[in-house]
Amino acid sequence: MDKHQLLLWLSIALFSMGLLGVVIRRNALVMLMCMELMLNGVNLSLVTFMNQNGQAAGGVLVFLVFVVATAEIAIAIPIVLLLVKQKRTLDVDAYSDLKG
């Protein structure tokens, strides 16, 4: 098993654990952090493929993922703040009566 395959396994593990965390955890902030973990797994696979093929296009995609992650956090955190102001809890099950 060479280096690239090991790194791909690591990225798979990161992505799957992030997905599992988003599905099973109840704390909204922990769910956001698990999304970050998923993005990190994708980034690791992109860098691995870039390293394997010797092309710089993967770096561009990683950079775009960075920007998207930052924008996502900048939007999601104020939403979480507003939700907590409504009901004083971070439990997402408490907000299941939201309609939209």
Partner: protein
Amino acid sequence: MLVLREPMRVALALITTMMSLGAIYGFMGVHFIAAFQVLIYVGAVMVFMVFVIMLLEVREAPGNKRYSNLLVPGGVIFAMMLGVLGISVWRAVGSGSTTAPAISDAFGLTQFSTVFLRDYWLQFELTTVLLVAAIVAALAVIKVHRRASGEKANG
């Protein structure tokens, strides 16, 4: 991260993961991505996250359930996803592992910038649009916040 109760411990675990990933990127020779990883993720996103965790400080009820009702379906999805991705990686790397070793010159900042601004300029511009949209949305959220608190104070 899946079993820790406190959000702050989850945040510290995630910071450790991100710094380790930055170290991996550094060892792979993509130094600018390692720098971005540490600067943007650990320096901006996670500091913001830790800030919010300390700002909110919402205590969970002691007898609260740790996991949602989707624990079993989530576990099934996790296993299926791990299987599908694992099989694809096994096949792909098993067949194509004889590629030429990458040239370390390909990961310099010069080539990155050239490719970025020559071939991917459209995505770059779309990124600016996304950032403007994010700023506008954050301002709108803040305004809703102010209006709600103002009404509460008045009435």
